[in-house]
Amino acid sequence: MSELNTAVQEPKAHPRRKQKEKKPNSLWSDAWYDLRRNKVFLVGTAIAILLILMAIMPGVFAPQNPLACNLVDARQGISSEHWFGIDNQGCDTFSRVIHGARISILVGLLTSVVTGLVGGVLGLIAGFYGRWVDVILSRLAEIFFAIPSILGALLLLSAVGRDAAGVWTVVLALAILAWPMVLRIMRAAVITAKSQDYVTAARALGASPFRISVRHILPNAVAPVIVVCTMNLGVFIAGEAALSFLGVGIQSPNISWGLMIADARNRFLMAPEPLIFPAIFLSITVLSFVMIGDAVRDALDPKLR
């Protein structure tokens, strides 16, 4: 005479389950259903798409050539011709801000993908094989994790030298210190997935370890990794700006918001526009990706429902 029914809990279940009871819903279709209705996600995505368009074809958005500057005009305030004023070098701030989107978004996306892949694969290996493989990989992750990230990246980029500094060096410097976070999450998710009954069942049926990890464990462990990678996007974008600000990241004549802030800081209190506008764009970019990350987490983490 066991507890048969959960009638009281039923109404709390997902509203969609009622409508389409025939089809079993996967985590992904449920998540997608949630996302499409989440205002935070929609606003964040709209901003992000606009920013990505800016990054792909800045010429369409920017009224002037960001590199055609006239020192005579330096630090002019806001005007109808120069919406965001003119910076210390006499360049149009608005055009430079538009062109700055490319590197920010490129670094953010690439770093997220690199950390996701490296941390994800190593986490899968550590979680799946366990034992000494796990011990070695986990300790290695701890070693990298113990180094403060901005300082570590500062050192790595200094070692590379300014001449070689560029998008990829910044991406790697950020990724080298960030992958352990993904490894931890992937490893934990794999270990949880591994102990589920269906994996035991697959093993009992004689499925090969590779097949088990690809078919049975990965789909269930990948959700938390996607969540953390999305949420990290904003962190990496801010990280690039910080490193460029410190002078070890993106180098002139490339345009980076962090670099623009660094260039404008000396005369910031007299002429705030050249600093404030890249700062605002940087914040909006981070905000849009944080919003997406938040929404993705809410959609993919069933515990929070």
């Binding site: 403060p148 300082l151 500062l154 910080a242 800081r265 600093l275 404030i276 909006i284 905000l287 938040d294």
Partner: protein
Amino acid sequence: MGRYVIRRLLQAIPVLLGSTFLIFCTVYALPGDPVMILGGERRIDPVLAAQLREQYGLNDPLIVQYWNYISGVFVGDFGETFQGVQVADLFAGKFQVTIQLAVTALIIEALVGLGLGLYAALRRGRWQDHAVLALTLLLVSVPTLVSGFVLQLVLGVKLKTELGIDFFPISGTEAGWRSFLVPGFVLAGTSIAYLVRLTRTSLMETLRADYIRTAVAKGMPRSRVLGRHALRNSLIPLVTYLGADLGTLMGGAVITEAIFNLNGIGQQLFQSVARRENAVVVGVVTVLVLVYLLANLIVDLLYAVLDPRIRYE
């Protein structure tokens, strides 16, 4: 308990060795010859250069250099710069500034984060809750780089010129503890947001627990149910987060120090990288790794104190 501490300490050693070795290798790979950079514009006499290299062990293999260095660190000797200044002495003042900054940030974080988080949890689902959550979104999104300059302009300059309030210094440490208020808040920014959210979810989860229902059924007044039964349980993850965050704050202080012209270790590291003062660079990062590991160890112990289920495992 004693065995637990010892086990945790032993586990921290390979991490410490690994991290510092990594830093050592990176510093070793920094471009340029430190001895030549020491000379600056002047060409250094090759005989003197060779002598210096010998004296500082720069001709030894990397691993030997590392071993000489790290064995010194364990007895508190961080080596000396090429100018003959003891690195440990150089650190003293700088670390004090960074620690003051990080501790101020941590206090602000704890007060604001716990306060807003508890408030949001108790107003769950109402407009106050939504407002707090929107605020955290904003806090997470504004990088230190931005909030630092903006607050410097608003609190340090506009407040003084427009309203005549000169309470927040915007540069240096002359004004004592007040100097650290704005930088502390800037440094804590993102952490505050995470702590608010963590506090909110933690308390909400606790309030759903069966033992809270029991406490109500025991006829405990609401204040006691919240203040004794719920808070004690929700605090466990929060203390963990705060403890671990001290290391993060110290390591992340470099940007804040640069904006507010605070002469802490971040600034020191930045200068020393440019001057190729390898001993200082490695020293700074080693100490930060130590702080991180120590903070985590303390957190683990606190965890055991707060949650009796851990203690007896």
